[in-house]
Symmetry: C4
Subunit: 202 residues, 4 copies
C-alpha cells in the first residue's frame, strides 16, 4: 500500500470524526421562552466539543508528522494505524457522554470523564505504538530525520499516553480536573515546541 493512500484514508476518518462531534450538541426540544436558559445549561457540551475538536486536530497534525516521513508502509503499520483510528473514530461517543453527564455531578460525571480519559489513553497508546514501530531502528523512516529529530519526536509522541493515564486516575476524583488535564495537553501539543513543524530539518 502506498503511503499516500494510507494518509488519505486516515485523513478521511479524522475529518469525519471531527465533523461528527457536532452531532453531540443537542437542540433543546419545546424549550419555548426558556431556550436561552436551556442552551446555557448545556455548557458542558460546548466544552466537550472544543476539547475533542482540539484533540482530534492535534492528533491529525501529529499523524502527518509521522506519515510524511515514512518511506514505506508495511502490514503491521497498517494494522497499528487501524488500531489508532479505532480510538479516534470512537471519540464522538465519550464526547456525547461528557456533554450529557458533566452537568450532573456525582458518580455519573466521574464515570463519563473516566470513559473519556480512557478513550484518550488508548488513543495515546496507539499513537505511541505506531511511532515506535515505524521509528525503531528507522524501520520505515526515510532519511529526512536526524537521530536527534527522532529522539525528540519519540519524547513528544510517547508523553501523551502517560498523561492521559493520569487524567484517567484523576477522573476517579474530579471530572473537571480530568478534562482540564486533557485540554492542557492538547494546548501543549499545539504550541510550537510541542509540535513538529518548526525548522527546515523537520
Amino acid at each position: 500500500m502506498a503511503t499516500n493512500r494510507l494518509e488519505a484514508f486516515s485523513d478521511g476518518v479524522f475529518a469525519i470524526a471531527i465533523t461528527l462531534l457536532v452531532l453531540e450538541i443537542r437542540v433543546p426540544t419545546n424549550a419555548g421562552d426558556r431556550l436561552a436558559h436551556e442552551l446555557a445549561d448545556q455548557w458542558p457540551a460546548y466544552v466537550a466539543y472544543l476539547v475533542s475538536f482540539l484533540v482530534i486536530g492535534i492528533i491529525w497534525m501529529n499523524h502527518h508528522a509521522v506519515i510524511d516521513h515514512l518511506r514505506a508502509v508495511d502490514r503491521p503499520l497498517v494494522g497499528l494505524n487501524l488500531f489508532l483510528l479505532l480510538w479516534v473514530a470512537l471519540i464522538p461517543w465519550p464526547t456525547r457522554l461528557v456533554a450529557e453527564y458533566m452537568r450532573e455531578g456525582g458518580v455519573a460525571e466521574r464515570v463519563a470523564a473516566l470513559v473519556y480519559a480512557g478513550t484518550m489513553t488508548m488513543m495515546g497508546i496507539a499513537f505511541g505504538l505506531l511511532w515506535r514501530y515505524a521509528s525503531s531502528d528507522r524501520r520505515l523512516l526515510g532519511s529526512g530525520l536526524s537521530d536527534a529529530d527522532i529522539a525528540r519526536r519519540t519524547r513528544r509522541f510517547t508523553i501523551g499516553a502517560p498523561i492521559y493515564a493520569i487524567a484517567l486516575i484523576v477522573a476517579l476524583v474530579s471530572a473537571p480536573a480530568s478534562l482540564a488535564i486533557i485540554a492542557v495537553l492538547a494546548v501543549y501539543y499545539a504550541l510550537p515546541q510541542g509540535g513538529m513543524m518548526r525548522g527546515p530539518s523537520e
Copy 2:
C-alpha cells in the same frame, strides 16, 4: 505539512459539514394524512438548509482562493485553519436550532438567530485572521498575486465578519432580518465581483 494535505483535510471537513446539514431536516412521525401540512409547516428547516449550504459552499470557495496561493504552510496557519474549521463544523448545530425555533416567534426565535449569526461571526473572524496572517507582508503567499490583488482580497475577506456582526445585533430585534442579511452576504460572495476567480491574474 504540505499545502495539498491541508487542503484535502479542510475540503473533507467542508464536504462533511455541508452534507450533514440534511440531518437537521426532520421527517414528521405518524403524520398520516397531515403529512403535506406538517412538511409545509417546517419551512424554516428548508430555508436554514439552503442558507447554511450556501454559506459553507461560499466559504469553501473562498478558502480555495486563499490556499491555492500559499507557497508554504506553517504551524500558526494550521492552527488558524483548525480555528476556522471549528466554526465551519459547528454550523449544522445552529442550523438545527433555527430550523426548530424559527417558526415559534417570540424570544426563542431570536435566540436561535442570535446563535446562528454568532457562529457565522466567529467563522468570519477566523477566516479574516487566516487571510491576514497568510497575506500580511506576503508571509506565506506565492508570487501569483499582485499587491492590488492582495488588497482587493483583503477587502473582500474581511468584510464578512463585521456584516455577520450586524446580523448578530439585528437578531436581537428580528430573526428573519438577521437571516436575510446572512443570505444576502452569501449571494454577494457568490457574484463574480464578490468572488476571486475572474481574471487570469487570479
Copy 3:
C-alpha cells in the same frame, strides 16, 4: 479553481450522501420476539435505500463523465456544481420520508413519493444545466470529445429531468409507480448504452 479540487470536493459530498443513506433504516426498539416481523414490515426502507444508492451512484458516474472532460473551471460552473450538490446532499431526507410513509398508503404515501420525485427532478435539472453550460459552444470542454460525442451526451444528460418530472406527476396517483420509474431510469443509466464509458473516444 483546479478541476481536480472541484472533483475531490464533489466526490466527497457524493460519498458522504451515499453513506448517510444508511441512517434512514431504523432499528426497531423493544421489538422482542417480533423483531423479524418488524424488520420485514419496514421493507420500504430497504427499497428506498437501494434506489437512492443507485441514483447517487449513477449521478456520481455521470458527474465524472462531465468533469473528466473539462479543460477549465469557471465561477458559474462552480456555482452550478454547488446547485447540483445541494440536491444530491438532500437525497437522504426524501429517502427517509419514503422509508417512513411508503407502507402507509393513502395521501401520506403519495406526498412522500412527490417530495422524492421532486428532489430527483431538481437534481436532474441541475445536472442538465451543468452539462449544458460546460458543453455549449464547447465553453469549458477540452478536445477529447467529438461533436457527435457531445450531442450523444447532451441527449443522455438532459433526458433525466423530464423523466423525473413524469415520476413527479405519477406520484400524484401512485407512489410505487413513481419510484419504479426512478429506479428504471437509474438502471437505464447503468447500462452500457446509457453510460459514458464505452469506447476509446469516450
Copy 4:
C-alpha cells in the same frame, strides 16, 4: 474513469462507513448513578463496533490489494464496485441491530445476528465477484502479478463469502457463535498470510 478516482470515492465510503459506526453506541439517558452499570450493560455495542470496524478495515485493505493492480477500469467493474459499496455502506445498520438486540437472548438476538451475517455474506459475494471479474483472463489486471499471485489472491478473496454463509447458518442456532466466526475471519485476513502485502511481488 481513472483508477485513482474509483479508489478515492471508494476510500471515502469506507472511511465514512467506519466512522459512522460510532453512532450506534448509545449514550444512556437519565442514567444518574446507574451510568456505569448501564454502560456495562450495553457491552454488545462495543463488541459490534469492534467487529464491524475490523471487518470494514480489512475489506478496505483487500480492496486496495485489488485496485492497486488494475491497469484499467471499465463500466462493469464500476458497477460491481458500487454493488460492493452498497453492502459496505449498509454495515452500520446491522451493527446497530446487533448492539441493540444481542443482550436480549431469544429469537431477537438470532434475528439480529442473521441480518448481520447476511450483510457480510452479500459483501463477501460482491468482493469475490469484483475480484473474479477483474482477474479472470487478467481482464483488467496489470502485469505486476504472477499467475501464482493471482491464484493465491483468488483463494483468499473468495473464501470470505462461504465462511460468512456458514456464520449465517450458525446464526439460526447461536448469535454469539455467528459473530465469533465473523471476527475470526477478520483476524485471519489481518494476519500476514491472510493478507496481500508481504513480498516484493505483491
